[in-house]
């Protein structure tokens, strides 16, 4: 049940659009995924429509709006990709993001990362691709490592580098077996 006084519930429902998702869930923007889930559970205890069913229609309406926003905030923040897209939008001052919009942004982000999002990142990842085409995996790994220094958050680069290293390791073992 909500600890808020009835007038505070109405007030909260009215300012929902001004709150970002971290504020909706009462958490720090640096919170971990586990903390996001815990906050969702705690908020649900306070604002679940079931827990507030004894209120009058106007307050139940306010609770319904708040609980829907809590679910929305949780749905976006629990997913690393959606959360990143939201954080970007939040920096531009956008407090609310439809889930479909966050997904589209996340997808865009992912495809942009394929090529690289900075000039140097793009340059070194292109070099790495050429190295792979020539069969020089070690050079490719070095170039990709350089690309990552320019784009430390690029998950695609990291995944590709991991694959490359595995490939290199496999080749080394094969070479040893041949001896």
């Amino acid at each position: 049940m909500s600890d808020l006084a009835p007038t505070e519930i109405l007030a909260l429902a009215n300012i929902l659009d001004e709150l970002d998702y971290y504020q909706v869930l009462h958490i720090d923007p640096e919170s971990s995924a586990g903390q996001v889930r815990q906050a969702f559970h705690a908020s649900s205890r306070a604002f679940h429509p079931d827990a507030n069913r004894h209120l009058d229609a106007a307050h139940r309406g306010a609770i319904a709006r708040i609980s829907k926003r809590i679910t929305e905030a949780y749905t976006v923040l629990r997913d690393a990709k959606l959360r990143r897209a939201y954080d970007d939008a939040l920096r531009e001052g956008q407090t609310r993001m439809q889930i479909a919009e966050a997904e589209a942004k996340a997808e865009q982000q992912a495809s942009a990362e394929l090529e690289g999002t900075t000039p140097n990142g793009r340059r070194y990842s292109a070099l790495a691709r050429q190295d792979v085409a020539r069969g020089d995996l070690k050079a490719a790994a070095r170039n990709l490592q350089t690309a990552i220094t320019f784009e430390p958050a690029n998950t695609h680069f990291k995944a590709r580098l991991a694959e490359l290293r595995e490939e290199i390791e496999k080749e080394r073992r094969r070479a040893r077996g041949a001896l």
């Binding site: 559970h41 229609a57 749905t75």
Partner: protein, 647 residues
């Protein structure tokens, strides 16, 4: 006397009722001491109606007058696959009702599916009342997690006909998890493997003390214990046909005997290594000799008959685990629900798949009703004791041109939730747009379940692309859907409860409630005498916030699905998931009679299409929309409280 609230598991094959008293949850036995009662309704020749295990016993004597597994049909359209499938295997007659609904022809009368289910619910209510010695009106009723909105609404209607005030429609696996984890202070991730008579559901939950959060759910409403029976029936019927050249399926009496024998054999295989099926005198050959079915089936043979069905459940499990972003190693346990999970082969297969011994401390036939009873008690007690956080099992979509359906809320999104997408007109001075709502996972509109539609008009007439229309989908804690359209500039709104295909309109529902036809149901009393059930004739008034359903005439004809009206359509403006090249394909459809699509329609008048009575909710000529007057705040409840017009 204190107000009580019961939990009812309305199953495909069997139903169960339970109540919480103090700290204990008890399953209420029927007059014969049985914990579950068959979800079967028998219409006797003398006009009496029997429900429950007594009715089930009548299947072989009056196959065409005895209705079973009707849950497979509830909330379905007559043309759906499931209805065709049921027609092929059921001895009672399934006929078409108004607006593509399904009706059951029992003797001279036709019944809607909610009416049949209401008879079962009434029986469960009577069992509880007999046991408690007081009247019961409040209940939590469970449905398969994978039920769509139509099926949920129809179940709600059934409860209303039965004189029950449904406090909550609860998902069966969620109820099972509640029964498992309630009051134990657990912090666990669990899977609920729910194989019922007609449906399969899997839900993955995270239990955090008093919070039960569903991480994902998946299911197959075409798969259940009935299908296991069918495999045994096929085996016997095929062998009999090969041996004697007689098709037992054609004789309803013989077929029902096969069905009963198959079910018994399956049940016995839960405890025995081998069963012997004997059905004497099932048919006569040309010489007039009586023939019998005799067949031994052991565990191994049975396993080989149904293994592909079991494997199908694991494909669904894969999907649920993936959507929950967990692997079997992350799970602390698996809870089994449903009669078929008693089969040793299922237990073993489930144990192998989840790499853990499934939990068997709760009775798989009773666990759902117990969870429903716990929730019912929680909803009537002053202190909230458990918080259920569920998800929507199926994606909600909006129909767009080209016969496609665009997702607005994806499946496994937590509820309650609200999501808005913005569209704009596709044509200069376009006047109205039809908003069609679907539920399902297909990009093709007709690959999904159709929930309903409404027309939105009265927005500002302007050049194409200048009008912005927000379409908002909301799902409440019951999993029920509400859709609103709003013109950003004027605040003009229209909305609908998506309650179109329970198979009953509000008017019909009221007619049924008035007629009190289900009162013919005979309820068994402890001394075995059938008496007229002592039921109040009038149901309790609908809950304050109960919403009106749309009238029957609001159901459009389905053949209107022709989507090639792109000129008069809306297009998506948020551009989400929609590359510009496909914009045209994503335009919203409009109905054919909304002016001439080929000609841009000039502004004829500034009068909003809402009739003169402004604000009283009369609909436009297409008769499938409520249109509020400009600026009406739907959230404030003014539009949704309006009476639907009687046609």
């Amino acid at each position: 006397m204190a107000e009580v609230a019961i939990g009812i598991d309305l199953g495909t094959s069997n139903s169960c009722v339970a109540i919480t008293r103090g700290k204990t949850v008890e399953v209420i036995p029927n007059a014969y001491g049985e914990a579950t009662s068959a979800s079967v309704v028998a219409f006797d020749e003398d006009g009496a109606i029997t429900v429950g295990n007594a009715a089930k016993a009548k299947i072989i004597h009056q196959p065409t007058r005895t209705v079973y597994s009707s849950k497979r049909l509830i909330g379905r359209y007559f043309f759906s696959e499931e209805v065709k499938k049921a027609q092929a295997v059921c001895s009672y007659r399934i006929v078409e009702g108004p607006n593509h609904s399904v009706r059951i022809q029992a003797a001279d009368d036709q019944y809607s599916l909610p009416e049949i289910s209401a008879m079962v619910l009434k029986e469960m209510k009577a069992i509880a009342e007999a046991h408690l010695g007081q009247s019961v009106t409040k209940a939590v009723v469970t449905v398969p997690a994978y039920f769509n909105d139509n099926q949920r609404q129809a179940t709600k209607d059934a409860a209303r006909i039965a004189g029950l005030d449904v406090m909550r429609i609860l998902n069966e696996p969620t109820a099972a998890a509640l029964a498992y984890g309630f009051g134990r202070g657990l912090t666990q991730k669990v899977a609920v493997y729910d194989l019922g008579g007609g449906t399969f559901d899997i839900s993955v939950l995270e239990i955090g003390t008093d919070v039960f959060e569903v991480l994902s759910t998946a299911g197959d409403t075409f798969l259940g214990g009935d299908d296991f029976d069918d495999r045994l029936i096929d085996l016997m019927a095929d062998e009999f046909s090969a041996q004697h050249g007689i098709n037992l399926r054609k004789d309803p009496f013989a077929f029902e005997k096969l069905k009963v024998a198959a079910e018994t054999a399956k049940k016995n295989l839960s405890v025995d290594d081998e069963v012997e099926i004997r059905i004497p005198d099932i048919a006569r050959n040309e010489a007039g000799d009586l023939l019998a079915v005799e067949r031994r089936v052991d565990q191994q043979e049975f396993a080989s008959l149904v293994m592909d069905l079991v494997m199908r459940t694991f494909k669904v499990c894969d999907e649920a685990l993936q959507n929950a972003n967990v692997t079997v190693r992350d799970l602390d346990g698996v809870i089994l629900v449903g009669g078929p999970t008693r089969l040793p082969m299922i237990r073993k297969a489930v144990g192998d798949y989840f790499q853990t011994q499934p939990k068997t401390d709760v009775d798989p036939d009773e666990v759902v009703a117990m969870g429903a009873a716990i929730h019912a008690a929680s909803l009537t007690s002053p202190e909230q004791t458990a918080y259920l956080l569920d998800v929507t099992p199926l994606s909600l979509r909006i129909g767009v041109a080209g016969g496609l359906a665009e997702t607005v809320i994806e499946r496994n999104t937590p509820v309650p939730i609200e999501q808005t997408r913005t569209f704009t007109t596709f044509q200069d001075y376009q006047e109205r747009v039809k908003i069609r709502v679907f539920q399902g996972e297909s990009r093709q509109a007709d690959g999904n379940e159709r929930l309903g539609q409404f027309e939105f008009a009265g927005f500002r007439k302007a050049r194409r692309g200048e009008v912005e229309i927000d379409v908002t989908f909301a799902i409440d804690s019951d999993g029920l859907v509400r859709v609103t359209a709003c013109d950003r500039a004027t605040g003009q709104q229209a909305s609908t409860e998506i309650t179109l295909s329970s198979g009953l309109s509000e008017t019909e529902l009221e007619g049924i409630l008035e007629k009190g036809d289900t009162d013919r149901v005979q309820t068994a009393t402890p001394d075995g005498v059938s008496v007229q059930a002592d039921q109040p004739d009038t149901p309790p008034p609908p809950a304050e916030d109960e919403l009106e359903t749309l009238d029957d005439a609001d159901l459009d004809d389905l053949e209107e699905l022709d989507p090639d009206l792109e000129e008069d359509s809306l297009e998506l403006t948020d551009g989400v998931q929609t590359p510009p090249a496909q914009m045209r394909g994503d335009a919203l459809e409009v109905d054919a009679d909304s002016g001439n699509p080929a000609d841009p329609v000039p502004v004829e008048t500034d009068t909003p299409p809402t009739p003169a009575a402004g604000g009283d909710g009369k609909d436009v000529d297409a008769r499938d929309a409520y249109l509020g007057d400009g600026g009406t705040d739907l959230a404030g409840g003014s539009a949704r409280d309006r009476e639907p017009e009687s046609k």
